[in-house]
């Protein structure tokens, strides 16, 4: 290296070592960035550096001096290395902090998002209902929407000329006088019981049809979830327990509910499950028609005639069934005031869920 002066030949190795070390330490002191520091390291400790060259002089040292000189070399080298490390750590921190502050950004500017879509609220509540019942051991089954009057009515203890047939304005089809669009998911009850031996625990979500004018509360098609549990010793008390647990899980709170007697041809006893109106806390408002209560779902003990129709002995087995309107529950849960929102598919609606 160039700073290796010729006259140094006359100096002792000790002196030269001292000198180089002093020079090196000064250079390190003066290096004010990492690049300069690296240059220092190369200039003194690099393979062609000043210190490396002087080491080669060790060969000329008399044998008895070698241990002492060797120790001295190592000591001086360590001194330089330590100082390099110290300085590097300081300079690295300084470098980082300069770099970091130069990298400052507006952290409040908008994120760059992968566009996301929204699942329909009816899909969401449907999935939620399925999961809740799944946790209680209910499997999900399916049935056709185009149905025979046998499964829609006759098998459900609703023979021809039964007034209850009138109350569900049924759509009939071009496929024959007995083929209709199901007016209730209860059609699945006997279909399941024919195929499966008790114990049975199923729910059947699906689309149903009623021939009604469109308004804020009614649409000619809507969705229900049917439930059916058949086993030995199934009681009305268990029906109450199951549905209470369900309502609590769906609305995530203890709604004040009541079981009110009602009539359905295919259950006996039958009940309507009402919840205290959450909009007025039971005081009476427009949503609940001043009743203070809102109908949530219909339920009851499976009528022995239905069990017999499906080939199940009502003296051995009993069961309960229930049916709920998805739209109704969704309207309640999300505070939606018009059923038509569900089928208009306005993105300003869908994107709220």
């Amino acid at each position: 290296m160039s700073e290796m002066p010729e006259e140094s030949l006359n100096e002792s190795i000790d002196q030269r070592l001292e000198k180089i070390t002093t020079k090196a330490l000064t250079a390190i002191e003066q290096a004010n960035d990492l690049d300069a520091l690296e240059a220092c390291r190369v200039a003194y400790l690099g393979s062609k550096g000043a210190f490396t060259q002087i080491m080669q002089l060790l060969r000329t040292v008399p044998k008895e001096d070698k241990p002492r000189i060797g120790a001295l070399v190592n000591e001086q080298k360590k001194k330089i290395e330590d100082r390099l490390e110290e300085s590097k750590a300081v300079l690295y921190e300084a470098h980082l902090s300069a770099k970091l502050s130069s990298e400052s950004i507006d952290v409040t500017a908008p994120g760059r998002r992968v566009p996301l879509g929204h699942e329909h609220p009816l899909s969401q509540i449907r999935q939620e209902i399925i999961s809740i019942f799944y946790s209680m051991g209910f499997s999900t089954v399916d049935g056709p929407e185009i149905e025979t009057d046998y499964y829609n009515f006759d098998s459900l203890n609703t023979p021809a000329n039964h007034p209850a047939r009138d109350e569900q304005d049924t759509f009939y089809t071009n496929l024959g006088p007995h083929v209709l669009l199901r007016s209730q998911t209860s059609t699945v009850q006997v279909r399941v019981m024919e195929k499966t031996k008790p114990p049975i625990r199923v729910i059947a979500p699906g689309r149903v049809y009623r021939n009604e004018e469109v308004n804020a509360r009614k649409y000619p098609l809507f969705h229900q979830v049917e439930g059916l549990l058949i086993d030995k010793d199934v009681t009305f008390g268990q029906l109450k327990g199951t549905l209470q647990a369900f309502i609590k899980a769906l609305f995530k709170k203890d709604l004040n509910i009541r079981f009110r007697p009602d009539f359905f041809p295919f259950t006996e006893p039958s009940a309507e499950l009402d919840s205290q109106c959450p909009f007025c806390q039971g005081k009476g408002c427009r949503t609940c028609g001043n009743r203070g209560w809102l109908e949530l779902l219909g339920c009851g003990m499976v009528d022995p005639n239905v069990l017999k129709e499906a080939g199940i002995d009502p003296e051995i087995y009993s069961g309960f069934a229930f049916g709920m309107g998805l739209e109704r529950l969704a309207m309640l849960k999300y505070d939606i005031n018009d059923i038509r929102h569900f089928y208009t598919n306005d993105l300003r609606f869908l994107e709220q869920f």
Partner: protein, 862 residues
């Protein structure tokens, strides 16, 4: 039905109960009360009988006068200002004093009376008009004061007017009718329920005809005899009444009928309606003079027999309809409506009163066939207690004799003419006590059951042990014999009388493993929502002119209320595109939507018969139709991505959505091929659409003779020609510009539609393969084609086939069109066993080049 609280109180002791309390109890006792509404405005005192002693002019006004009115015997008269012109000294009138509430005659609202100063003179109350008292009169202006001299008799001044005029507040309970409880569609029936639910006493009714002793004439000449020729009319009764004067109904009857929303007609017709609402038995009155012969007969109609019903419509009858006929003509449709020709008119002086029992199903069928229903048919359809028929007849006869007798005292009441019998049948149902516990989860002893059932007319007899089980024999009252026929019916009755709230809620004991539902569909939906598409739920009922419908396969609705809901859809796309247009019309540009939903089709008759025979006579579930679940999407408009360039939809983005959907749901894209299609649906661009198929040749369709015949006969191509192919999973494409204009889309749109069941069959969850340690080798290859129509899929297939076992992927990375088509592929080679040599890779590329030039006439640049 509408139940008057006041009327109810005539039948059951309601002392101390409010309308709201009764409503609540009925609701929890299976008769839901939807609403309780007050009748008219509420009128409160002090409202007293007064007498006008003096009438003087008002010192400061010309149109109003100042009266001195006495409102208590011997009291100082009060000065009251009055504007009405009809008052005279000596008139007895209703005086509303300070604090009273009456009806505002201008708008029916509540009017509170206060002592006030009118034009400088203090007025101590108000003299009331009829309208202000909530009474309907002939005075249409409502201005005249209601003069009570004829109505008050010798009642002293100061008497509460509400007692004199029967102005008690009433409430209407809107009770939801129960389809199996015809017996409770009347005041008396609901009174029975109220009595049982509150444990109150029923009031006994007395309305003996003895009161008219001298008018009763068993052998009245010209009285009409009753005859029934049909089992569907098991009891038929008639009573002839002469000397009637048709006029207005007494006020209390008119008031009650009006409160229930019924139109008043005349005294006789109103009384038949009144008794029907009171006792539940429909009645009908004929004008005797309009009846030919001396007998009325219940019989089935002759085919084509005509009748003009009370509503003025001529109706043609069929033999399913039961009628009431005189000598030769139908004068009424049994249990539904009388004829216009035999109607009671102002001139009628003799009537025939019919009270009968008609079969539920027959009335229902007739009502349906004729599209005609009435308050009477509503009741017969739900079942009417035949035992009560004669009682109702007598009650109506009593009221008619009392309120409709003519002035000349010629009232004559004939004997009850009867056909068939109306005697109570004895019916019992046995109830095993254990069954109550088994079904309800609550145990009740026989005393408790007896206490619950007896108030409703049931009789309970303890049979002790029967076949080892404690059993009760319950006798069913006549009016409940149609809805209580089985043990379970009694259990329900006990359950509701005891209270549903008395049953403790518990969880079902054992649990069982459940199958999770729809995991595939849910996952598909997740794939699409995470690609920026929102989910729509569309109507499956579509208009008659829905595009793309194959009318040979369509399922249609025979009785749609609206033209918009006439057919069952065969594709989700038209609905989705309508939803897209709807959103665009509201200013939304990026509309990316999907739906997972069903489509419906009629299955060709031959295979449907086959299906039916396969089901071995299981015709009860055979509909001759098929439902498939599809996933479909429509995308239009750029999706903004904040500061980054927006995502712009086109055919390839949409195809990419399909590919992502497949791959994310375990369907290997190597199994899939896209095949150009130009004639599938009217909404597809003929040159920018492809079928999504399995990458293998289609199997020939299994056609039986009948179907191939019908296919040959068919002129129009059907989308099912493609969709029925076993390898077709669906399609993807750009929306046809014509279709876009027709449905009013504001921007280009792209769609896809896939069959979820077919997709699910192709799912194959991956298995782990060892990760190779050897390096991958990348090579780019640009091939030029003179044929501009050369398709990527064909080129890629050749490359894959020729590339040998170590070619891992071949991705199209650039497309350039000039006089020729240039496609550049980036290929990766890898041998998991050892590092590939350059020579090995080069030799693969050579064979790729050779096959491309042999098969597709590709050329390569140096």
């Amino acid at each position: 039905m509408k139940l008057s609280f006041d009327w109810l109180s005539e039948f059951v002791d309601l002392e101390g109960l409010s309308a709201a309390q009764v409503a609540e109890k009925l609701t929890m006792g299976a008769f839901e009360v939807e609403e309780v509404t007050p009748v008219g405005a509420e009128i409160t005192g002090p409202l007293v009988l007064g007498e006008i002693l003096e009438i003087n002019p008002h010192p400061n006004a010309s149109k109003i006068r100042l009266t001195k009115t006495r409102v208590a015997p011997g009291a100082e008269p009060l000065e009251i200002v009055c504007g009405a012109a009809n008052i005279e000294v000596g008139h007895r009138i209703a005086v509303a004093l300070d604090g009273a509430c009456v009806v505002n005659r201008h708008d029916g609202s509540k009017l509170e009376i206060k002592i006030s100063t009118i034009r400088g003179v203090k007025s101590n109350g108000m003299l009331c008009s009829a309208a202000e008292l909530g009474i309907a009169t002939d005075d249409t202006t409502g201005e005249g004061i209601y003069i009570l001299n004829d109505l008050t008799g010798d009642r002293p001044l100061g008497t509460d007017i509400r007692d004199i005029l029967d102005l008690k507040n009433d409430y209407i309970l809107h009770v939801e009718p129960r389809s199996n409880r015809g017996d409770a569609l009347c005041v008396a029936g609901l009174a029975r329920e109220v009595a049982a639910l509150f444990n109150r006493k029923l009031k006994t009714q007395t309305h003996g005809l003895d009161e008219f002793g001298k008018a009763l004439d068993q052998n009245l000449t010209g009285q009409i005899k009753a005859q029934s020729q049909a089992d569907e009319c098991p009891y038929f009764s008639l009573r002839t009444i002469n000397g009637i004067k048709i006029g207005k109904s007494p006020a209390y009857i008119a008031k009650r009928l009006e409160a229930m929303g019924l139109r008043t007609v005349n005294n006789v017709v109103d009384i038949t309606n009144y008794v029907m609402h009171e006792l539940g038995q429909p009645l009908h009155a004929y004008d005797l003079e309009k009846i030919t012969g001396n007998t009325l007969t219940a019989r089935f109609a002759r085919e084509g027999e005509k009748i003009t019903t009370l509503d003025g419509k001529e109706r043609s009858l069929t033999p399913e309809v039961l009628v009431i006929a005189d000598g030769d003509t139908a004068v009424g449709i049994a249990g539904i409506m009388g004829s216009k020709d035999s109607e009671i008119s102002q001139q009628s002086s003799s009537i025939v009163l019919e009270a009968a029992a008609f079969d539920q199903a027959t009335v229902r069928k007739g009502s349906r066939l004729l599209g005609l229903s009435s308050d009477a048919s509503l009741r017969f359809e739900r079942g009417v207690d035949r035992v009560q028929t004669a009682i109702a007849s007598e009650r109506a006869c009593y009221l008619i004799a009392k309120h409709c007798a003519g002035d000349d005292a010629q009232l004559a009441i004939g004997d009850l003419q009867q056909a068939g019998d109306n005697k109570a049948q004895s019916k019992t149902v046995d109830l095993r006590l254990k069954q109550i516990d088994r079904i309800l989860g609550i145990s009740l002893d026989s005393q408790k059951i007896e206490a619950l059932l007896t108030p409703l007319g049931f009789g309970v007899q303890d049979l002790g042990q029967q076949s080892g089980q404690a059993t009760l024999r319950v006798s069913i009252p006549s009016f409940r014999q149609s809805d209580i026929t089985r043990e379970i019916d009694l259990i329900e009755e006990i359950c509701r009388l005891n209270g549903y709230d008395k049953i403790a809620a518990i969880m079902p004991s054992a649990s069982m493993p459940a199958e999770a539902a729809d995991t595939f569909v849910s996952r598909v939906k997740k794939t699409l929502t995470s690609s920026g598409l929102s989910e729509a739920w569309l109507s499956s009922l579509v208009p008659e002119n829905e595009p793309g419908i194959d009318h040979d396969r369509v399922v249609s609705v025979l009785n749609p209320l609206s033209k918009d809901h006439q057919l069952l859809r065969q594709s989700l796309i038209p609905g989705l595109l309508k939803a897209v247009a709807y959103n665009q019309d509201r200013g939304r540009k990026d509309v990316w939507m999907f739906e997972a939903g069903r489509v419906y089709e009629r299955v060709p008759s031959a295979s449907s018969q086959q299906a039916a025979s396969q089901a071995q006579g299981n015709l009860k579930g055979h509909t001759g139709s098929r439902e498939r679940q599809l996933i479909a999407a429509a995308v239009t408009g750029e999706k903004s991505r904040g500061l980054e360039a927006p995502l712009k939809p086109d055919y390839y983005l949409t195809k990419g959505l399909v590919e992502n959907l497949l791959e994310h749901n375990d369907i290997n894209l190597a199994k899939i091929a896209f095949r150009r299609v130009s004639d599938l649906y009217p909404w597809l661009h003929p040159h920018r659409a492809a079928l999504v198929t399995l990458n293998r040749p289609a199997k020939p369709k299994k056609l039986d003779k009948a179907i191939s015949q019908s296919d040959i006969q068919r002129q129009d191509p059907s989308p099912y020609d493609h969709l029925d192919e076993n390898i077709t999973l669906g399609y993807v494409g750009e929306v046809h510009p014509r279709y876009k204009d027709q449905v009013g889309l504001r921007d280009n749109a792209w769609v896809f539609e896939l069959d979820l069941a077919k997709l699910e069959l192709e799912r194959k969850p991956g298995k782990f393969k060892e990760i190779p340690n050897t390096p991958e080798v990348l090579r780019d290859l640009t091939c030029d084609f003179e044929n501009q129509e050369t398709e990527h899929q064909a080129v890629c297939a050749v490359i894959i086939k020729a590339g040998g076992p170590h070619l891992k992927t071949a991705d199209l990375v650039s497309v350039f069109k000039s006089d020729r088509l240039s496609l550049t592929y980036r290929m990766t080679f890898q041998n998991p066993a050892e590092t590939l040599t350059n020579d090995q890779v080069e030799s693969s590329i050579q064979s790729i080049r050779k096959d491309l030039s042999d098969k597709l006439k590709a050329t390569f640049r140096a």
